[in-house]
Amino acid sequence: MDFAYDDEQKALQSAVREMANRLVPQETSGDVPVGPRPLDRDAWTAIAEMGLLGLPISEDAGGMGASPVEVSIAAAELGAARLELPYADAMAAAVMIARGEGGDDLLESIVDGSSVVLTALAEPGRAWDPEHPEATATKSDDGWTITGHKLGNNDLTEADAVVTTAQCPDEGCTCVFLVREPKASGASVSFESAEAIRLGDLDLLTEGLNVGIIALGGEALGAMGAALRSTVEYLKTRKQFGVPLAAFQTLTQRAADMYVSVELARSTVNFASMAITDHPGDSATASRLKLITGRTGRHVGQEAIQLHGGIGMTAEYSVGHHTTRLTQIEHTFGDSRYHLARLTAGVREHDMVDVLA
């Protein structure tokens, strides 16, 4: 096992870092909006031009032919720079389209950024559980139609198509579908016998979400790393009682615990991105990653605000934004509870967790 990036990966990392820093005002500035926001088309085009939207797509489909490892490297830089884009969501959707059957004509425009395709997998009033949707799909001679209500992770009004799941009562299974021109209102979209293309079964959902979860993990790592760096810097410079805060051991020890969290998350994300490259359907590893980054994200985010004191609570300062984003990441594609439950259901199936398998 080797966790070192090769030269190409390092080049990707520094290119994305440079671009992300250019796109986001790094100085503390009150102009940076707080909370969910509509898609920033300019930033989307910029990351498309760099090839980030095609990273996990094969070259013959117009993509970069890279792996989830590269997705996580790119996402980490977006997270560190606070470039809040639906990157993980779009990667999950793109992978389902690329590996499924029927949406191939969209791939090129997804990769070049001209088509935005996002997921709409949650349902209003229901816990996250895309494998057991209430929405239903019906097959006729003309193809499939879907009926039901869905909720995206993002504002869907700019989406040219969405990827969703619906149960197919006639066949007794749940499948993944593509719906073009969804009539979205904010994050909600409702289908009434909407024409849909069946992309594949739940294995496809797992493969897509696994890449999405890797991207989320990368973004969380970036956000945690940045929050830790600002905290360390702040402890060195902020003075109270005539000394820098770093003179209070109770604070420095907590910064050390934050570092421990970030590094454990880093190993987990790096390992999982390699494992999922090799085994695209490895949902147990994806769940472990989600659980670890969910918990470390909370730990690091909450401590970053606390150790900054009042300034950490403000919209003008970066740590609050990182914590806000970490909170969103935790609630995207299933939270720690959901993934822990999934892992709990599977503990009988193995003796030990074998990371070298």
Partner: protein
């Protein structure tokens, strides 16, 4: 030891419950806020209604509207009020400056300020913190120089909560820059917010809301009769005030209300096999929190019973520490119950108000472990003041 309420206290509890749930109208109880921000009109109407019934400032001296209640009765009053979601009397008025004026103010000040303070005819804000004086409050730099029968005030305050609605600010100012200890040169001044030279700048927090401000003072002239007590004794009054701030700061009633709400939200969030409340992992978290809140609640009562003549027991630091932590944990639980809906901050037909508010509220309440003496400061009070561990 005795667990049960006496008949008298039970009747009192019943009376409070009835008042808060029946006399206080629903529109005042459905929360402090409109779109997550404080609605000053609701606050004023609620406090005036309480004051009209003698329930706004029960811990003040009786001649200014106080009730000779026991600590237990005060606890019952507070908890029933929170459990019914009635906006509590503005803390800056009822718990902070009111008791200070009642204890240290001149007779004129008492007569001038206490009735409008109890009735929220004057809205007070707290001008203690400065950019370089947070936990280290005594290093504050705002100056007040006596000139005839006025003080000339210059400097800056920050984190002034709800300053945008305030009529007056109670400030700590430096009156003797040469005092042997920095705590000894500080005074407390009462300043009208519309005095020439006072300006306010809003600070936006991470939930997108505006509740705190910076306040700037530029050659502000303050009549000398607005000095509280004696010059250079402000630190003593501030310590008294902060001690009061800490007592009753464990919002047990609202934590219990929120936890009950969380259960209701979980029970209405469907899963493939039932509701979220049927999920053993979620139910276990609720059960743990219920046990922890119980431990806090009975500690509040134990501490309340111990405190003598309004002097806070140092054990009250436990209440601030654990109260803020549990409050934060319950709000975090609610974001998890909202799950995918918590990603969207605007309610719609598909996203209920509670779910849309869950993340901003959770983020906003990260403040609870920072203000009013941060949790680190509370741990120092416990380790130094109770355990005798210095450093």
């Amino acid at each position: 030891m005795q667990r049960q309420l006496t008949d008298e206290d039970r009747a009192f509890q019943q009376e409070m419950r009835q008042f808060f749930t029946e006399t206080v109208p629903e529109e005042l109880r459905s929360g402090l806020s409109k779109d997550g921000e404080v609605d000053p009109d609701v606050m004023r109407r609620a406090q005036r209604l309480l004051n009209e019934h003698g329930l706004a400032v029960p811990h003040w001296p009786t001649e200014f509207g106080g009730k000779d209640w026991t600590e237990l009765q005060r606890h019952i009053w507070r908890t029933e009020m929170q459990a019914a979601d009635v906006p509590p009397p503005l803390a800056f008025n009822a718990n902070m400056i009111g008791p200070v004026i009642a204890s240290f103010g001149s007779q004129e000040q008492k007569e001038r300020f206490l009735p409008p303070t109890a009735n929220l005819d004057i809205w007070w804000c707290q001008g203690f913190s400065e950019p370089d004086a947070g936990s280290d409050l005594a290093s504050l730099r705002t100056t007040a120089v006596r000139e005839g029968d006025e003080y000339i005030v210059n400097g800056q305050k920050t984190w002034t909560t709800l300053g945008q609605f305030a009529d007056w600010i109670f400030c700590l100012v430096r009156t003797d820059p040469n005092a042997p200890k920095k705590q000894m040169g500080i005074s407390m001044l009462l300043i009208e917010m519309n005095s020439p030279g006072v300006t306010l700048r809003p600070i936006k927090l991470i939930d997108g809301g505006h509740e705190v401000n910076e306040v700037f003072f530029e050659n502000v002239r303050v009549p000398a009769d607005q000095l509280v007590g004696e010059e250079n004794k402000g630190w003593d009054y501030a310590k008294f005030l902060l001690g009061n701030e800490r007592v009753g700061v464990a919002p047990v009633g609202s934590i219990k209300r929120k936890l009950a709400d969380a259960k209701a939200y979980a029970a209405q969030t469907k899963t493939a096999t039932g509701t979220m409340l049927d999920d053993p992992l979620l139910a276990a978290r609720i059960a743990e929190l219920e046990a922890e809140v119980m431990a806090l609640e009975v500690t509040v009562m134990r501490v309340a019973g111990n405190s003598k003549e309004g002097r806070p027991d140092p054990v009250s630091s436990i209440l601030k520490l654990r109260g803020s932590e549990l409050q934060q944990e319950v709000l975090e639980l609610i974001t998890d119950i909202a799950g995918p809906a918590s990603l969207h901050w605007t309610p719609t037909d598909d996203i209920e108000e509670w779910a849309a508010r869950s993340t901003p509220t959770y983020l906003n309440f990260r403040k609870a472990s920072i203000y009013g003496g941060s949790n680190e400061v509370q741990r120092s009070v416990i380790s130094g003041g109770i355990l005798g561990l210095k450093g």
